[in-house]
């Protein structure tokens, strides 16, 4: 008797601890908790990290599941490829599934080049690590004698980071261990290995793109990434990486001709890809060599068809005069498009001038600060005129330009 009383007491205690009232919150069972994702604070979308934390910040917290990120490649395709590798490495670390398609290099070669994750979290991105002023002790009243009223104002933070950690850091100088890599499930699509099919129908999509789309659809259906699939097992995210779409190796003459015959092949493919992604738990990163596309309207329509779009411009390949910037940064990053998913306006980045630098342990994207130009001809003449003036000065006696007010 006592036992049963005790039991009921215990049960009632347990029940009260779980349910103090009879009111039960109606929770959606669809709230997925997938490792490596989080909910956006702005609009509640499910976000994954791109692998580059500063790029996550630029995109508004991360890459939303079901969207496409377009990366317009730099001239020698070094940094776009690096970001693609970061994206895939992040998928390996978060235990997502990977799908990689390439026409130039075999996907296995790209998989072997993935950077090594720094898993002991030694590198923490602290805002105070960006030295804009000299290293003065923070909070010491004697530190600033004359400008002490500015002491408590926050220091200018040029590196972009959000306050909470989401995403991992990678060491570029080392490649990922084979054990870690093989733990992740990877699907390949290498175009030269695909059986050559000739479509009898005159479809606007090229055979190569059609085969790719079919392969992606098959993987989504077979592995259960589609949203409509019954949630039998735990859900996961599929990360799709498409390398150098639109290049002639895919059979597309978008980059070769001024008036391409297949002008709508890539745009139709992107449209179909976005439709596939919206109905599945997957996210795609596509790199396009847009510096080879001559038609501006085509470039614009490709950008509009993807949800997120960034363009990388490395200083190595650009023709513009980049003297003082080459030392600090490796190139410029332009944000061409931000997504507006399920909302009226989009989250625009605060700063439009962004520059990137590939460091060993971090791909940092910072606000572009031009260093002060301490040469004598600054703010009076442009460089071209300065060259002319220098030639003139040397012709009629040198040294006059120092006294030129």
């Amino acid at each position: 008797m006592a036992a049963s009383v005790n039991d009921t007491c215990k049960q009632s205690v347990e029940r009260t601890s779980i349910n103090p009232t009879s009111f039960q919150k109606k929770t959606r069972n669809k709230l997925l908790s997938i490792p490596g994702t989080r909910l956006s604070v702005q609009n509640g979308q499910l976000l994954v990290s791109t692998g580059v934390t500063s790029l996550d910040y630029v995109l508004g917290g991360g890459l939303a599941v079901g969207t496409v990120l377009l990366i317009e490649e730099d001239r020698y395709d070094s940094y776009a490829r690096m970001i693609l590798k970061y994206f895939l490495a992040e998928g390996v670390v978060c235990q997502h599934e990977l799908f990689l398609a390439a026409a130039q290099d075999h996907p296995n070669d790209i998989f072997q080049e993935l950077p090594d994750p720094i898993l002991d979290d030694v590198v923490m991105h602290k805002p105070a690590d960006q030295p804009r002023l000299s290293s003065e002790p923070h909070g010491n009243l004697d530190a600033m004698k004359i400008a002490w009223r500015y002491q408590n104002l926050p220091k200018v933070q040029s590196g972009l980071a959000s306050s909470s950690r989401f995403g991992h850091y990678y060491d570029v100088s080392k490649t990922m261990e084979p054990e870690i890599r093989q733990a992740a499930k990877c699907h390949h699509f290498y175009l030269p290995e695909q059986p050559r099919q000739s479509s009898a129908t005159r479809s606007p999509v090229l055979d190569s793109y059609a085969a790719l789309l079919k392969s992606i659809e098959e993987v989504i259906r077979r592995e259960g990434f589609s949203v409509a699939a019954p949630p039998t097992k735990s859900r996961n995210i599929l990360r799709i990486g498409l390398h150098s779409l639109g290049s002639p190796l895919w059979g597309d003459d978008l980059c070769c001709q001024d008036n391409p015959k297949h002008s709508h092949a890539l745009t139709t493919f992107l449209y179909g890809l976005r439709a596939l992604l919206r109905s599945s738990l997957s996210v795609a990163v596509v790199t396009v060599p847009s510096h080879l596309i001559q038609s501006r309207s085509l470039r614009g329509s490709i950008t509009r068809l993807c949800d997120n779009a960034i363009a990388l411009e490395s200083f190595k390949g650009s023709e513009r005069e980049t003297g003082p910037l080459c030392k600090d940064y490796h190139g410029l990053l332009h944000v061409r498009q931000v997504p507006h998913l399920n909302c009226l306006t989009s989250q625009l980045p605060d700063h439009k001038d962004l520059a990137f630098k590939l460091k060993r342990k971090q791909f940092s994207i910072e606000r572009l600060h031009l260093p002060p130009d301490l040469s004598e001809t600054v703010s009076r003449v442009s460089r071209a005129e300065a060259a002319g003036a220098a030639a003139l000065a040397s012709a009629c006696g040198s040294g006059n330009k120092h006294l030129d007010f």
Binding site: S78, P248, D258, L292, A387, A390
Partner: protein
């Protein structure tokens, strides 16, 4: 950098020599062929633009036994019945078969003269695919192609050069020929260099160093100026004791520490009154006018 490329130490590369109407890159291509022959490597040449006799005439003095010329000059479009190599045969399987026909110890070099000719008749994407497969195939150690950049739209030239591991652009300057070299390493790094060179009659390349520019002259002017802080009659530097004394000095119009802290943490609107040395507040004589 040009000499390193001529040595041909890296394999699996695609070299593209980009020339234009004003400066021909054919002699540079022949220098590459000659360097390979001197290294006892076999060279297969797909000749569309020059005849075999002209090539052999230019390569006088080199061992020609290992040179295999595939005659695409006499009948490239198969108009007569006796074509040896036509432009339609420029696909991976045919070219690989051609190279494998001659057995050699070291993998051969494939030289294509010129890619522009092929691009007039075959679509650029097919040419790109073939070049990529030849580069990765392994039957040829290196593939060298000549491309006339002013014959094609910019997109085509750009797409082909995007595939190249080393791109050499030649143009004429006063001293000789000027080459801009862009080399892509397997690690993703890109090296760029410029060089002025001339080619002698026996097809050896003489590098004449870097091209002259105007920018270093400005920097030289600045560094040649004398340092203005030297040889002064007054001292611009501080010794340690002088610096300490300077920092200890109380500045005028400076607030005390408490007032500074109060001002920094302001928000409540307090009035902080600090009596000055002159504020000698005497209770009995507040106006300080009694003559006592």
């Amino acid at each position: 950098m040009l000499h390193d490329l001529l040595q041909g130490t890296d394999t699996g590369g695609l070299f593209i020599i980009q020339d234009s109407g004003s400066c021909s890159g054919r002699r540079l291509l022949w220098s590459f062929i000659k360097a390979a022959l001197d290294r006892t490597e076999a060279v297969h040449v797909l000749g569309f633009e020059v005849s075999e006799d002209e090539l052999k005439d230019g390569l006088k003095g080199s061992p020609i036994e290992r040179l295999h010329f595939h005659n695409a000059y006499s009948d490239p479009l198969a108009w007569t019945g006796s074509a040896i190599f036509t432009v339609d045969q420029f696909c991976t399987e045919r070219v690989t078969k051609l190279i494998k026909q001659t057995s050699q110890v070291k993998p051969a070099i494939l030289a294509i003269d010129s890619l522009s000719w092929i691009l007039r008749h075959v679509s650029p994407s097919a040419v790109c695919k073939t070049l990529q497969q030849l580069k990765n195939g392994g039957c040829a150690a290196n593939v060298i192609g000549l491309l006339h950049s002013d014959m094609h739209p910019r997109g085509t030239v750009g797409s082909l050069c995007h595939l190249a591991t080393s791109l050499i652009t030649v143009k004429t300057v006063l001293r000789g020929d000027h080459a801009t070299i862009t080399k892509r390493l397997k690690s993703g790094k890109v090296l760029q260099g410029e060089e002025v060179f001339t080619i002698r009659d026996d097809l050896t390349v003489i590098g004449q160093g870097k091209p002259s520019r105007t920018e270093p002259q400005e920097q030289m002017c600045i560094s040649n100026m004398a340092d203005p802080t030297a040889n002064l009659t007054f001292n611009l530097r501080l010794s340690e004791s002088q610096r300490e004394a300077k920092e200890k000095l109380a500045l005028p119009f400076v607030f005390s520490k408490e007032k500074k802290a109060a001002l920094l943490h302001t928000g409540s609107g307090r009035i902080v009154y600090e009596p000055d040395a002159n504020d000698d507040y005497d209770q009995e004589d507040p106006d300080d006018d009694l003559d006592v």
